[in-house]
Symmetry: D2
Subunit: 143 residues, 4 copies
């Protein structure tokens, strides 16, 4: 189970007094790239190798609003990995009471500089696959 | 058909050279509040009347990346309106070639200051309902 | 006198109920690139020619807070232009009552991809210089 | 010497491949509110007590661009504190080589909800004053 910590900043709030909903997609991204980093895949290396990794789909279901100062634990789970795309789900919990604030989903594809689909080379694909296996919740365990 | 125009700003881009994907949710919001405004519902009035309107669900499917300088036409369609929530869909097209760049979906609920669900009063609900009827694509017309 | 129009978006606000102060620097940028565009200098062309144009200095003095829905007129004045840098000042006024909300200042330098100072070529420098002359307030005129 | 750590996120970058310059003002703010927090002054308490704390002046001098993934140490120094305003300076250094990337300055004033200047009560002013004294570099010490 991979987790990334964030804190809601003052600049993240809006005039309804809560974190603006677009920020969650930035937090998902931070959790996702931290996951990749932990798997040994650095975005700089990916970009130097000519890959782009645009988002094709992004969703968030909001349960409870995050507020200024909240410490957030963002759990990122890799749902699917192929050489052409990676799909993540996310759970955002408030530290302290572990309240579930939001759940998310993203799909990235791998492309070359021209925007054509590119297949991930082994040097990036294999470490991701291994890390993904390791992080997978054991069968029968609580989700 | 309600349309809102945006331009991709330099600050909206990221190091992949395209508009960062979180911006689309800000653009959807701008189109949505412009829709409400056009219907005669001002957010200041809503807030003065004690309503909050948090997002419960937000999605975006990205087809083609928006780039710095692109003029965008964001079509907002109200899919559903009740006194407790409003659901919109969005289509983002690049002006010039009318290329479809992205499609989105949001659900807002109406709550009071304590976060409890609140039912929209007639002064807000009726004008929205009328405007929504007027903007609805005619049956049998192209979507 | 070159002017650029902006509207304060909901996403620009913070929990104090006003536009977050960092947004003004995005607005200055939008006014600045619109100035360049009006002078015939497109950022895409600049970048294709190998130039970067990092900010070296940025300041804002805030008088009155901008609020959600405010229409802003951002006047951009080029204070100094050399082949190595450009300096702008800004005045942000609220449309309607022309209230001065903020005043700003930025200095950009021109560099190549390695971050070394680069001197602007004539194809970019000359049109900027001409436009800058044209936009300059006449001596003795009201500021 | 009060220090706050930040990491440059992917969403913070722009198409020049560096952190967009407006982000530094968000980072200054994060360092500033962490300073207040460390002094025992919570923004929620300030707001509940009816205070706003708008920015009146903000500046940043940029030396070297921050890049995606950089870990930043943001040193915040309270230059001046009265019951009506607080002035901070900032130094942003890249962790690892301690390279100075940027220096900043902000001035906040304290106001009530109507935007009128308000004088900070002892419960907020005294702890800030004490903390400020404690954090002050010793006379004759290296800056």
């Amino acid at each position: 189970m991979f987790c990334f910590a964030e804190t809601v900043r003052f600049a993240d709030t809006d005039m309804m007094g809560v974190a603006h909903h677009a920020n969650y997609f930035r937090w998902f991204e931070s959790a996702r790239v931290a996951f990749l980093q932990a798997a040994g895949v650095d975005l700089w290396d990916l970009m130097k190798a000519g890959y782009s990794f645009p988002i094709r789909d992004a969703r968030c279901a909001y349960k409870v609003s995050a507020r200024y100062g909240d410490c957030l634990d963002i759990q990122a789970t890799m749902l699917e990995l192929t050489r052409a795309k990676m799909i993540f789900s996310y759970q955002v919990r408030r530290r302290g009471d572990a309240k579930l604030l939001a759940e998310g989903y993203t799909c990235n594809v791998f492309t070359n500089a021209d925007g054509k689909v590119a297949r991930l080379r082994d040097e990036f694909y294999q470490p991701l696959l291994s890390f993904c296996e390791k992080e997978k919740p054991a069968a029968g365990s609580e989700p």
